[in-house]
């Protein structure tokens, strides 16, 4: 995650060209080592055990290590040892930049210092990015007092004790699902509460029942088609019916996992079929929570609001 955050920063500052960034990302993919592979390589788990944990991950919102420990495949000490090895992966992009000769040690040191300063993330939050700690990272985008206050003050249709926290959990699960089903290069670039949101394309879905919410993925056609294509494992170059459907299925699968989790807390919820809109505006008397996200396929927004906002 850190490599993508840092790479996205370098791209934005024109310290890397899009072609260089693409090349770097391709090289990162080739050396990406997951915890399961580390566990096999270290002899702590068999391939069969790793497959079983991966299968469980498809239905449980838990990390690989948590499931492996719960099933007795790893001890807590084993897991910490493996995580210690895995965390060094955040050095991959920096090392690749040096190896390719695009950055000197000094240039890299300066760029890292500027990155830490300009992202407005604390040292602990930067560490969360390095540790792939999605919950802590998402929490950083909800520490904006104005955003939290607007979410807490919004009229909620349903029984929710902590509305801002519920939305924060929703966003964290969404980021994990993007990593799991679309691309590991997820970068959150901003969060805001607004009363209207213009979009080129929107695929939205209503959550109904004891809590009423609308969720949407909005953005430009090319970016959404690229993301939908990654999810559906299809080559999608434009926001045609298949791409719209792929984004709808991504949102539907994510919302399904979110609702399954809430069902354990006793909330009885349901989903409406996803709906697509083109060149319109979401309007809401309560606040629209907009999370800006960048993937290697392009940028888009995740929108969450209580009730049913008007679409003008």
């Amino acid at each position: 995650m850190f490599s993508h955050y840092f790479g996205n920063y370098l791209l934005g500052r024109r310290l890397l060209t899009p072609a260089q960034y693409k090349e770097i990302l391709a090289s990162l993919d080739s050396v990406h080592v997951k915890l399961g592979m580390l566990a096999i390589e270290s002899g702590l788990m068999t391939a069969q055990q790793v497959n079983e944990v991966h299968t469980l991950q498809m239905t449980l919102d838990k990390r690989f290590g948590e499931i492996a420990v719960e099933r007795g495949c790893l001890t807590r000490e084993n897991l910490e040892g493996l995580l210690g090895t895995q965390n060094k992966r955040h050095l991959a992009l920096s090392q690749a930049l040096l190896d390719k000769g695009w950055f000197s040690f000094e240039q890299l040191e300066d760029a890292l210092a500027d990155f830490k300063h300009e992202t407005n993330l604390s040292d602990a939050e930067i560490q969360a990015v390095k540790d792939n700690d999605v919950d802590a990272l998402v929490a950083a985008y909800f520490r904006n007092a104005e955003l939290t206050a607007a979410l807490e003050a919004a009229p909620v249709e349903g029984a929710v004790d902590a509305p801002a926290r519920l939305i924060q959990d929703y966003v964290a699960l969404f980021v994990r699902n993007l990593v799991r089903f679309v691309d590991p290069g997820v970068v959150i670039t901003g969060s805001a509460c607004v009363s209207s949101h213009d979009f080129e394309w929107s695929v939205s879905q209503e959550i109904t029942g004891s809590v009423a919410m609308r969720t949407a993925i909005t953005g430009e056609g090319l970016a959404l088609a690229g993301m939908g294509g990654r999810f559906a494992k299809m080559d999608l170059a434009e926001m045609d019916a298949v791409a719209q459907d792929a984004i709808g299925e991504l949102l539907n699968c994510h919302n399904g996992l979110f609702l399954s989790k809430l069902s354990n807390d006793g909330l009885d919820l349901d989903l409406s079929p996803p709906v697509t809109h083109h060149r319109r505006t979401f309007l809401s008397r309560s606040s629209l929570c907009v999370i800006s996200i960048t993937l290697p396929t392009g940028s888009f927004e995740l929108l969450i609001t209580w009730g049913s906002p008007a679409i003008a």
């Binding site: 299968t55 498809m58 239905t59 089903f181 999810f231 559906a232 299809m234 019916a241 298949v242 459907d245 792929a246 709808g248 299925e249 539907n252 699968c253 919302n255 399904g256 996992l257 609702l259 399954s260 069902s263 354990n264 009885d268 919820l269 349901d270 989903l271 409406s272 079929p273």
Partner: protein, 120 residues
Amino acid sequence: MARILIVDDSIVSRSNLRRILEEAGHEVAGEAGDGASGLEQYGQLRPDLVTMDITMPGMSGLDCLKGIMEKDPTAKVVMMTAIGQGPKIMEALESGACHYVTKPFETSKVVEAISDVLCS
């Protein structure tokens, strides 16, 4: 090998299911994009098994399931759902569905569920 009818409003889900089923040696007898079309095609095709999405515009998967069970109480229907728990799954099983699989589809889960239902 079984003849299977896919009922799902998602083009992507239908495409994934078709690939999984055909790779497992089954024949896709037909595809329907909504519950009403699924009900109609069930009467025409009389497949060995139906995979049924729950959330669809128009006639829902639950209503389509109930319609199929009225026509043919021996029908074998496997529900496909994004929500892995909750009252709709219970209602589907009480209404005659034999099994359910959660989205996003995992090949082994789909093949196992269909194999279990066909063997029962």
